[in-house]
Every structure is written in structure tokens, then in C-alpha cells.
């Protein structure tokens, strides 16, 4: 009895099968009728006794498989993993937005879920009306919203605009109001997706503080995020998901190290042997991503030396344009820079930008100067798009990690930590302005 009561969330062998390929999304009635009409035929033709769903196994993917864990009352647990590792699917199942295909979960206590801030906001309604509406959507009682109303408005800092339609708010104000409502939810268990990705840095900090209060106030928090800094701040324990399965479960710092380190075993390269197994689709497949410094592939680069990020890919669709972009992140998940082979983002324009690619293997590289990054673990996210930048073909976060090592270049005078995201050498100068004060 007592043990049961200590557990807030219990998950057993949870799994979710998704259908992929053509049949994803909505069908028209005709397609469905056709498939009903042809099913008996297919059944006749197929010699196996397996149901048709199994014979088309390749059209299905386990977004989550055999996931089991427990979260104790009052515990804050982070769930981390790459894109498509099943984090959001897990959260959606626990929020009851989608149903699992197999397994079992039980949640003890009132659940508040936050997959997005401002869900249900209506642009035509005023700020005041939206507070009530969003509160109701998030499961707050009207009396509860009334009780917290002033606090919510003050936290968001929108007192003056309460009776203005939401569509006249700046996007920052909308986010602040949305988050403020969410932050005043008081469930026993809070399930949060990366809602902190929006809003300005200062407000993010305020929100993190508020969520920290929630966690410290004895509530249970399950927190899904890409931002290692917030996971580290908020959670004690973390779960690492990989391809829908739990790869590791343990203390936050151990799990984050594993996550960052698992990119390539720090060899400085990830590669795929053939297009069949490589990520991508029938337009582009990724061959390799590597960090090259002083002519060799390196997992550790010298802080003072420049290095190249090389991205090799097969273009499988002729006469198309490709744009390659990267994100460079540090060990706490802060994005240090975004760049792409666009003319305006390059020192010298990439000759292949704007040029139709034939079939073939290509390498796009980007040089990062020496004396620029700070020391420590860094990770690279790679994106390949068509000429229309919204048309994302490849999007792999944290595909490769590498370590920037301080070899003593900047250790001559000061030997402590240089705090900061980057560590460039800058122009410093002192002049004497007079002989006396």
C-alpha cells in the first residue's frame, strides 16, 4: 500500500505503432472503399496466414517500444533524446492525447499537461477572455482561474491590454500570457514538452524559475526537452530515449553525458555505407558528417586551430537545388550559431548554391575559425532543404559531437574557467588619459 502511494507515474511496456508512408494522414472515402474492395483479393493471393497488417510491416514503425519506468511522487524527471526518439509520443500517451498500441500506464493524481503554451487561444477574444478559455482548456476550474487571475496577469505583464483582442498583442506578449497561465496550473503531476523554446531569454528564465518552484513544491514533473541546461536545472533524474526505447536511466548529469557522447563515440565522424541505410528520402540521403582539423578527422579539436564541418550527401533527384544548414550547440544545449551555405551567410559564395544539382555525391563544408568556440563538448545539427527552405528533407539534431580542447593557448595568465558560450580573442587596449586623477 505504502509503496503504491509513493509512485506518481508507473509505465509498463508501453508501445506505440504508427503507420507511415502513403496512408498517413487522411484518406478519401474512395480510397477506403477501394481498399475494402481489394482486401479479400489480397487475402486470397497471400499464402501466409498472417493478418495483412503484419505482412505490410515496413509501413509501420514503433515510435515507442517496451518503455517501462516509474516516477516517484515529488520527483522531477527529464526525458531527453534526439528527434524522433519517441519523447513526444511518450508524453502524448501519458497526456491521453493518443492511445498506446500496447502496454499499461497509471498516473496517480491530477495531471496537468503542457504540450504547447496558449492552446485554444482565440485571436478575436480579449486577453481576459483568453485567460479563462485557456485555463479551462488546461483543466483549471473557473473559480481557480478567478482566484489566480491577478497573479497570472501580473506575471505576464499585460495588465494594460486585458481588454484588447489577442490578435493585437505582440507575439512576445501572447507567449508571456500563455506561459503565465500555464505556470499557474497547480496539478499534482505536470507533464511538459519543450514549451520553453519560445519567448525571450529573460522570460524563459522567469518561467524556469517558476517551474523550479513547482518541482520543489513537492509536485511531480515530467519534462521533455532538447535544452540540456533546463533539464539539468530542473531535474534530478533523467531518461534517455533512443529509437523509442529507453537507452539509459539515471542521474541527470550521467544521462546528459551519455546523450551528448553517443553522437559518434567522439570519433569526430558519423557515416553511412550506402544510400539504402542512410537517413533521408528519395531526394537526398546523408552519407557522412565529420569534423576535420589539420587534415584529419578529429573528435577533439584544438581551441586555437580552425576546423571544418564536412557534410557528405547523395543527391538522388536531378535538377534540384539544395541548401545545407547547421546548428552548433554547446554542452548545455544552447545554440551558439546557425549557418547555411546561403550567399549572405558565407564569406565567399558557395558555387553550388543556386545551381541545379545532378545526381551524385556532394560534400558541403563549413569552416569554423580557431579561437572562437569555448572549450568543452559541442554538438552539430544538420539540415538539408530544397531551395524552398521550409522544404526540410533532412533534419538531424545533435548528429555529431566533438570536444574543443584548450591546449594552453589561453592558460598562460589565467588558469580558471572562461565563462561564456564563445571565447574569441578580442582587441584590448589601454591608454593613459592623464598624469594625475
Amino acid at each position: 500500500m505504502r509503496i503504491m502511494n509513493d509512485i506518481a507515474i508507473k509505465v509498463e511496456n508501453l508501445g506505440k505503432l504508427y503507420r507511415i508512408g502513403q496512408t498517413v494522414g487522411y484518406k478519401t472515402l474512395r480510397e477506403s472503399l477501394m481498399s475494402v474492395a481489394t482486401t479479400p483479393l489480397r487475402r486470397l493471393r497471400s499464402t501466409s496466414h498472417e493478418p495483412s497488417a503484419i505482412s505490410h510491416q515496413s509501413n509501420y514503425i514503433w515510435a515507442l517500444k517496451d518503455v517501462s519506468f516509474e516516477v516517484k511522487r515529488g520527483e522531477a524527471v527529464g526525458i531527453i533524446g534526439r528527434n524522433g526518439s519517441g519523447k513526444t509520443t511518450l508524453l502524448k500517451i501519458l497526456c491521453r492525447i493518443t492511445a498506446p498500441t500496447e502496454g499499461y500506464a497509471e498516473i496517480h493524481g491530477r495531471v496537468g499537461s503542457l504540450l504547447e503554451v496558449g492552446t485554444g487561444f482565440h485571436p478575436e477574444l480579449t486577453g481576459r477572455e483568453n485567460v479563462y478559455l485557456n485555463g479551462a482548456v488546461l483543466g483549471m476550474k473557473k473559480a481557480q482561474v478567478e482566484h489566480k487571475f491577478d497573479e497570472i496577469v501580473e506575471f505576464a505583464g499585460v495588465e494594460k491590454f486585458l481588454d484588447t483582442p489577442l490578435k493585437r498583442y505582440s507575439s512576445g506578449m501572447q507567449v508571456r500570457l500563455a506561459f503565465s497561465i500555464a505556470a499557474h496550473l497547480e496539478p499534482d503531476i505536470l507533464l511538459v514538452d519543450e514549451v520553453l523554446a519560445v519567448g525571450d531569454a529573460e522570460f524563459q528564465k522567469k518561467c524556469l524559475g517558476k517551474m523550479d518552484d513547482v518541482a520543489k513544491g513537492g509536485r511531480t514533473v515530467l519534462f521533455v526537452s532538447h535544452n540540456m541546461a533546463s533539464v539539468q536545472n530542473l531535474c534530478v533524474r533523467a531518461i534517455l530515449l533512443e529509437s523509442g526505447q529507453i537507452n539509459m536511466e539515471g542521474s541527470v548529469s550521467a544521462v546528459i553525458d551519455k546523450y551528448l557522447g553517443s553522437g559518434a563515440g567522439k570519433t569526430g565522424e558519423v557515416c553511412w555505407a550506402s544510400p539504402e541505410v542512410a537517413p533521408g528520402d528519395n531526394r537526398v540521403r546523408l552519407k557522412a558528417v565529420r569534423v576535420v582539423s589539420e587534415g584529419c578527422v578529429k573528435g577533439d579539436v584544438d581551441i586555437s586551430k580552425e576546423f571544418c564541418i564536412e557534410i557528405d550527401y547523395w543527391n538522388l533527384q536531378a535538377d534540384t537545388q539544395r541548401v545545407i544548414s547547421i546548428h552548433l550547440l554547446n554542452s548545455v544545449g544552447t545554440c551558439l550559431l546557425t549557418s547555411a551555405n546561403l550567399p549572405s551567410a558565407s564569406l565567399t559564395p558557395d558555387p553550388w548554391y543556386d545551381r541545379p544539382y545532378p545526381h551524385g555525391l556532394f560534400r558541403t563544408s563549413c569552416t569554423i575559425p580557431g579561437m572562437f568556440l569555448n572549450e568543452g563538448l559541442h554538438s552539430i545539427s544538420v539540415f538539408i532543404t530544397g531551395s524552398f527552405l521550409q522544404d526540410v528533407i533532412i533534419d538531424i539534431r545533435d548528429i555529431l559531437t566533438f570536444n574543443v580542447q584548450d591546449t594552453g593557448m589561453m592558460r598562460k595568465e589565467y588558469t580558471g574557467t572562461w565563462i561564456g558560450a564563445v571565447r574569441p580573442q578580442l582587441d584590448w587596449r589601454t591608454v593613459q588619459l592623464g598624469e594625475e586623477n
Binding site: 492511445a99 497509471e106 498516473i107 479551462a136
Partner: protein
């Protein structure tokens, strides 16, 4: 072990809700207790629909009157005057308006509810609540328009000197039946629409067809006696509209037709509820 502590633990367990999550299997009935727990959300969703409906329009809620009113004018002109459709000795404008009132409510209800889930896909994918609230709130919000349009009816009654009768007290019953029918149809259509967007194109057509299949521009007496039971069974709106006409204008009471309609309405509601519940679990994945 401390007895006092274990007592509070027991109390905590009793108070604390436990959510069980499992793969869905088979047909499930509507969870009425859960619906009741979410009544405030239903209120807010309905309230939002009403508030937002005529935002940034010049005429605002006047639209609620204009639609049935101009329909009445058009019907009077074409069916009443030109085609000379019999109106059971009642002035044709009044005769058609008494039917247009429930008809407009029904048409709005099924049109809005059939699109409700698709329109609110973002909500479906981001928060949990009983999905039934979506079509339900879309059925309830047009009741406000209905109430406003009702004022015009009193004007017409005054104009044609038809005093309100005691039978009007029956109206809430017919209104309730109508809302139940709209909900039943809305449950079917909204759930199908999640998977098959054909519904979006079919509904306007269906509404038009249904209008002429219902005794709106003509009276039920227009239908040959021997077909009338079949008529009421096939189209449950017959009993409802007849009920409205009878309660307001004192035409032929709906009698056995109403019972036939009510039975069909219940079948539509219950089957719709089961179908909706069966599809519900996949809404967020498919929509």
C-alpha cells in the same frame, strides 16, 4: 507503523484520481461521469463559439435574424405565392418561418459540428478532454441564434394576429429532441470527417437535400397519407418540425409521427456515440 499516518494515506488514495492508460479495445459507451467533470470546458467552448461568431461583422447578431428572415421572404415569394404550396390555412410567411426556425438551428448545428474536430485539430493534438465536447459545443452555440430569431416569430405572430398559445410550452421538448438529433448526426459526421474529408463537401449538399426532404416549404399534409409513417421514419426532422408548427400555430398535432421520429433519433444518437467513441482514440493521430 504509525496508524495515524497510514490513515491519512488511505484518505489520500481515496481522494486522488488515478488515470489508467491502456490500448483501446472494442466498443466503449460514453463516459458520462467524465463528461460531467468537464462541464466547465463545455461551457467555455460554447461561450467562445458564441462570442467569436459575429466578431468583426458590421451587423453582428442581426445575422441570426437575417438568415431565416430572408429565407422566409424567398420561400413566401416562390413557394407561397408563385407555386401556391398549401399552407394549411395559415399565412405562408408564418407557416414557413415556424419551420425555418428549427430548420436553421439544425442545419447550423450539423454543419458546425461536422467540422468541429477538424477545425480544432490543434486542440485535439495538444490537450486531452472528452472529444465529444467539440461536436456538442457546436450544437449548443447556435441555440443563441435560435433564441434571437425567435423574437422575429413573435413579430410575425403579432402582424398576422396569431396570439401565443399554451401549447408553446411544448417547445422545449421539441427543441431538446432536435438538439439530440443534431448531436447524433454531428457525432457521425465529425468522426468520419477526421478520416475522410469528403464530409466537408458532402455536408452542404446534405443540408440542402434534407431541407427539401423536410416539411419546411410545405406541410406534412402535403405528403400522401399512406407514405406519412415512412416519411417520419426516414426523416426524423418531420416529427420535430411538425411539433414546432403545432406548438406555435396549432396545426395538426404530430402524434405517431413524433414517436417514430423520436425512436429514430435515439438510434442515431446511440450509434453515433458508439462510433465516435470507437474512432476517438485515433483522432489525434489521423486528423
Amino acid at each position: 507503523m504509525n496508524v495515524g499516518a497510514s490513515n491519512t494515506t488511505q484518505a489520500d488514495i481515496a481522494r486522488e484520481p488515478v488515470t489508467i492508460i491502456r490500448p483501446p479495445r472494442g466498443w466503449m459507451p460514453i463516459n458520462l461521469r467524465e463528461l460531467w467533470a468537464y462541464r466547465e470546458l463545455l461551457y467555455f467552448l460554447t461561450w467562445r463559439d458564441i462570442k467569436v461568431r459575429y466578431k468583426q461583422t458590421l451587423l453582428g447578431f442581426a445575422w441570426a435574424i437575417l438568415q431565416p428572415f430572408f429565407m422566409m421572404i424567398v420561400f413566401t415569394l416562390f413557394f407561397g405565392t408563385l407555386a401556391n404550396v398549401p399552407s394549411e390555412n395559415i399565412p405562408y410567411p408564418l407557416f414557413s418561418y415556424a419551420a425555418l426556425l428549427p430548420w436553421t438551428l439544425f442545419a447550423e448545428g450539423i454543419t458546425r459540428s461536422s467540422n468541429s474536430l477538424v477545425q480544432e485539430r490543434n486542440l485535439l493534438q495538444k490537450v486531452y478532454f472528452p472529444r465529444l465536447l467539440m461536436p456538442l459545443s457546436s450544437i449548443l452555440s447556435p441555440v443563441v441564434d435560435f433564441a434571437i430569431a425567435f423574437v422575429v416569430l413573435f413579430g410575425l405572430m403579432l402582424y398576422f394576429s396569431y396570439p401565443p398559445t399554451i401549447t408553446m410550452l411544448w417547445l422545449p421538448l421539441f427543441l431538446l429532441l432536435e438538439l439530440i438529433l443534431a448531436l447524433g448526426v454531428g457525432l457521425w459526421l465529425s468522426a468520419i470527417n477526421v478520416e475522410y474529408r469528403d464530409v466537408r463537401y458532402a455536408v452542404p449538399f446534405l443540408v440542402q437535400l434534407w431541407l427539401f426532404a423536410s416539411p419546411v416549404v410545405y406541410g406534412t399534409t402535403f405528403v400522401p397519407e399512406r407514405f406519412r409513417v415512412a416519411y417520419g421514419l426516414i426523416n426524423p426532422m418531420v416529427g420535430i418540425i411538425d411539433g414546432f408548427r403545432w406548438a406555435i400555430l396549432g396545426t395538426e398535432p404530430p402524434s405517431y409521427l413524433l414517436i417514430a421520429s423520436a425512436a429514430i433519433i435515439m438510434v442515431i444518437l446511440i450509434s453515433g456515440a458508439f462510433y465516435f467513441r470507437r474512432r476517438e482514440k485515433a483522432f489525434a493521430d489521423v486528423v
